[in-house]
């Protein structure tokens, strides 16, 4: 039986979504779910081993990426006949779709990070922070697998007939929404509600989200691409906000500054719905412009729309009305002191002065423009990839 990806030159079999698309879905969902769960584990229980369930999910992503790469490389490199060569690119004597090499690279990077991380802990101590060189290597590997999956899916979609093309595109838009949840998780040190009236929060948000929204806007043809992705992100974020605290947790790592008997979720979804809708609405005007102008417009619109809604919403999050299971303002992390502003529903003035705040917001705008440009470029490439 030939799978769609090896039936090169022919459009995907009528109506059937190729297996690589589902592999991309599985890899993306497992790494995002694993990352969110892992962060919740670290801020609620504190201690873990290599084999905890969240780690297994992350390792599953590496396994899916690596196995898909091996299967695709083997199929395309060693099958006889012209058909196999046509739908692949050549690298170091091997042949496979670009996405397959990306997935293989990502799996290797994730594998390499394991002994590296182990040595890092023995030399410099167990991590207290999320971001260390071995963790960055792991994240880069996971991103490579996710985007490798996107490339495989898009290669299928770009060659597929209209109905299948639309289905794959729809799956992809949803996956971007899932990826936006991992962006919120990675930003956990900067996305406390106490920081939502400071420039640092917007500077941090301007790194991943404009890129993802610009990417999906550039790639997808449908009218409400960004809004759909943002809606999926919002649903996924609400799911973790409502489901995680249902599970009990016991702190296993000191120092413990507060008792937290539940698995703490990472926070109510950021209101990405607003900038997403604005981007979709403005796209018709923006699309005919040059890429840097597109980026400038998208970046600035993103920041303005996001700040306009998130700022007043942060006020609401600080009130008593938000301290319930729906909005989750009352959830705490055990290593945060009960006397800290975050625990006392107070904003932190992280900017040294008003001028400092506006300078920070200007940097946020610049960052959003830059990351939008990168997102547009990736979107354009994914639009064009055929192998």
């Amino acid at each position: 039986m030939q799978t769609s990806s090896s039936a090169i030159g022919e459009p995907g079999q009528a109506g059937r979504v190729p297996w690589v698309v589902w592999a991309a879905v599985a890899a993306t969902v497992s790494v995002v779910a694993g990352s969110v769960w892992d962060i919740s584990w670290h801020v609620s229980i504190g201690r873990d081993t290599f084999w905890t369930p969240p780690h297994l999910l992350i390792q599953l992503c590496a396994a899916i990426g690596g196995l898909s790469a091996i299967v695709l490389i083997a199929e395309h490199s060693f099958r006889r006949g012209a058909g196999s060569r046509a739908g692949s690119v050549r690298l170091f004597g091997l042949r496979a779709p670009v996405g397959a090499f990306l997935c293989g690279w990502g799996a290797l990077a994730m594998l390499t990070s394991a002994p590296f991380d182990n040595w890092w802990h023995e030399a410099y101590g167990l991590d207290v922070k999320v971001v260390s060189p071995p963790h960055v290597l792991l994240a880069v590997g996971a991103v490579a697998i996710v985007y490798g999956g996107f490339a495989l899916a898009m290669a299928e979609r770009n060659r597929a007939a209209a109905a299948l093309e639309s289905r794959i595109e729809g799956i992809f838009v949803a996956l971007i929404g899932v990826a936006m949840l991992s962006s919120q998780a990675e930003l956990i040190e900067y996305s406390s509600k106490s920081l939502m009236h400071s420039a640092i929060f917007y500077r941090a948000s301007a790194i991943p989200f404009p890129l993802q929204l610009a990417l999906v806007r550039r790639l997808a043809g449908r009218r409400w691409a960004c809004l759909s992705a943002a809606a999926v992100y919002t649903l996924a974020a609400l799911a973790q906000e409502w489901i995680l605290p249902l599970f009990p947790a016991e702190q296993k790592l000191g120092p413990v500054l507060q008792r937290v008997p539940y698995m703490a979720p990472i926070g109510f979804p950021l209101l990405m719905i607003a900038p997403a809708a604005v981007l979709d609405l403005a796209w018709r005007r923006i699309e005919p412009l040059g890429p840097w102008t597109q980026a400038a417009a998208s970046g600035v619109l993103f920041l303005a729309a996001f700040a306009a809604v998130q700022w007043p919403f942060a006020d609401f999050l600080m009130t008593r009305l938000a301290r319930n299971w729906i909005f989750g303002s009352h959830y705490q992390f055990y290593m945060v002191s009960p006397l800290s502003p975050a625990a006392r529903y107070q904003f932190v003035a992280a900017d040294p002065s008003l001028a400092g705040f506006w300078r920070g917001m200007a940097i946020a705008a610049g960052t959003a423009v830059l990351t939008s440009r990168i997102g547009l470029a990736i979107g354009r490439w994914l639009r064009s990839v055929q192998r």
């Binding site: 090169i8 030159g9 504190g46 201690r47 046509a86 739908g87 692949s88 690119v89 050549r90 690298l91 170091f92 670009v98 090499f101 990306l102 293989g104 690279w105 290797l108 990077a109 390499t112 002994p115 590296f116 040595w119 023995e122 030399a123 410099y124 101590g125 167990l126 991590d127 207290v128 260390s132 060189p133 960055v136 490339a151 060659r159 016991e250 702190q251 296993k252 790592l253 000191g254 120092p255 413990v256 500054l257 507060q258 008792r259 002191s337 490439w381 064009s384 990839v385 055929q386 192998r387």
Partner: protein, 486 residues
């Protein structure tokens, strides 16, 4: 990449070593904690093997002869300050299969500073608790070994080459419809893309390398260095000691290195040991006078002395500071008074002191069952008996600094100095802070039993001199023994 940054970290440390300070821990060179006490009705010997770097995992060994003991649960908690009130979930120690009565557990120490290990015992005789104070510091970071370094460098090369190659392949053929061949223009474009990718990837590697170097430097700065005190002779017969200033050290997680806590009525226990023979030991208790500690010395021979000052900070963190003192000539003074003591013996070069140590009034101290082979890091109970001419235990032992005896352990090359009590290596001030009202039994009796046991483990192989100090008839007496650990 990594090798050069760890080499640099090592150079920083070697520089520190050359400057005279040693990257060792409190007690100087004796990092593991030995403690003997009881959790309720269950006697316990506790050994804590500290990790090389904090945050890290310590291994705890708990030994109890009690047959009725059913379970031991351990929890590490900060000794003082925020984080000391709430405990994480306890870990149940696992029974060892290789040794009877031995339980093992692992403790996650996430912060440098003073901790207490809460031990909860349960069994047929009921339940009991014991807290062991522990000072957590980092020592030398580990250097990446050859095999791992080679493997990671190889993988890094594959990843870098792979990234550049994938970028080129994507640019050359990725957007071509299946079946087409790349045009020369596309091939040229792919070469430009590969160059750009190479710049980006190698730039990322460079940034990563700088980041690694910064982490290595930070870890090297966080290594605990034994502080140097300043000791000066004030003619005709006094000594002044100024401790290294209690600024916020990079190795400490917090401020709080201020305010010394008295240990049995004395804020500082000062030991002077003559260099190189170790033939004179002076143990005095200077009093604080402004920013320095002063004390009148007893009559003692001149010469070069190594100085060790034991203190306990308000957070419960114990520390030994080291220094040197030169006495140009013999000090003419009185006999040691109160808790102060002076001891003389044969110098190291005269040969190891084995056998019984002579004491006043015909008594002698006997080391009970000294092992034939003393292995480094093996927990051992050093037992000494004070016997009279008739060979029976004397009955006139008095408490010295609140306990039956004190042991001072010094390695011949000065790299190890430990001050051990019958309860173990923890200073009593820290033990009191850790246990609050439930102070484990220590000699408050009028006449402690003349058989004294110290739990200890020699941290490194080498030649050690042991000084055992007791009090009889109002005077402190010292017995000296030499031992070799392998």
């Amino acid at each position: 990449m990594g090798g050069s940054s760890t080499s640099r970290a090592l150079l920083v440390l070697l520089a520190a070593l050359a400057a005279g300070s040693q990257p060792l821990r409190a007690h100087v060179g004796s990092p593991d904690v030995y403690f003997e006490g009881a959790a309720g009705p269950y006697p316990l010997l506790v050994v804590v093997r500290m990790p090389r770097v904090i945050p890290g995992i310590a291994d705890i060994e708990l030994r109890s002869p009690s047959e009725e003991l059913r379970s031991l649960r351990v929890t590490p908690v900060l000794l003082r300050g925020p984080g000391s009130e709430l405990s994480p979930a306890p870990d149940t120690a696992q029974r060892a299969v290789d040794e009877r009565g031995l339980y093992r557990a692992q403790l996650w120490l996430m912060q440098r500073g003073a901790w207490k290990l809460k031990i909860a015992a349960d069994g047929a005789l009921g339940s009991g608790e014991l807290a062991v104070p522990v000072g957590a510091v980092s020592t030398m970071p580990r250097r990446m070994t050859g095999a791992l370094e080679a493997l990671l460098l190889l993988l890094a090369a594959v990843l870098v080459g792979g990234a550049i190659g994938i970028a080129g392949a994507a640019a050359r053929e990725g957007s071509l419809a299946p079946g087409c061949e790349p045009t020369p223009a596309l091939v040229r474009r792919s070469r430009r893309v590969m160059l750009a990718a190479a710049a980006i990837v190698l730039g990322a590697v460079g940034v990563g390398s700088l980041w690694w170097r910064e982490a290595a430097d930070r870890a090297a700065r966080a290594v605990y260095r034994v502080p140097q005190l300043q000791a000066a002779f004030l003619p005709p017969r006094s000594i002044s000691v100024v401790l290294a200033p209690p600024r916020v050290e990079p190795w400490a997680e917090r401020d709080g290195l201020t305010g010394l806590v008295p240990d049995h009525g004395h804020v500082m226990h000062l030991f002077l040991v003559r260099d190189p023979g170790m033939d004179v030991l002076v143990h005095v208790h200077p009093t604080q006078d402004g920013g320095r500690f002063v004390e009148e010395l007893p009559s003692m021979p001149g010469g070069r002395y190594r100085v060790f000052a034991d203190v306990v900070y308000g957070t419960g963190f114990p520390e030994t500071q080291v220094g040197e003192l030169a006495l140009p000539e013999d000090v003419v003074s009185g006999l040691p008074v109160g808790d102060d003591s002076l001891a003389t013996s044969l110098p190291l070069v005269a040969g190891p002191l084995t056998g019984d140590a002579p004491l006043a009034a015909g008594a002698r101290m006997v080391w009970v069952d000294p092992p034939d082979r003393l292995r480094a890091n093996e927990p051992i109970r050093l037992t000494f008996r004070v016997v009279g001419r008739d060979g029976r235990l004397v009955e006139d032992l008095e408490p010295y600094l609140g306990m039956a005896g004190h042991l001072v352990v010094v390695r011949a090359d000065w790299k190890v100095f430990a001050h051990v009590h019958p309860a173990g290596t923890a200073p009593m001030a820290a033990v009191e802070l850790a246990n609050g009202d439930r102070i484990p039994a220590h000699a408050g009796h009028a006449h402690p039993r003349a058989e004294i046991t110290f739990p200890y483990g020699f941290p490194q192989p080498g030649h050690y001199r042991l000084f055992v100090q007791i009090r009889r008839a109002g005077r402190v007496e010292t017995a000296v023994f030499d031992v070799q650990a392998t």
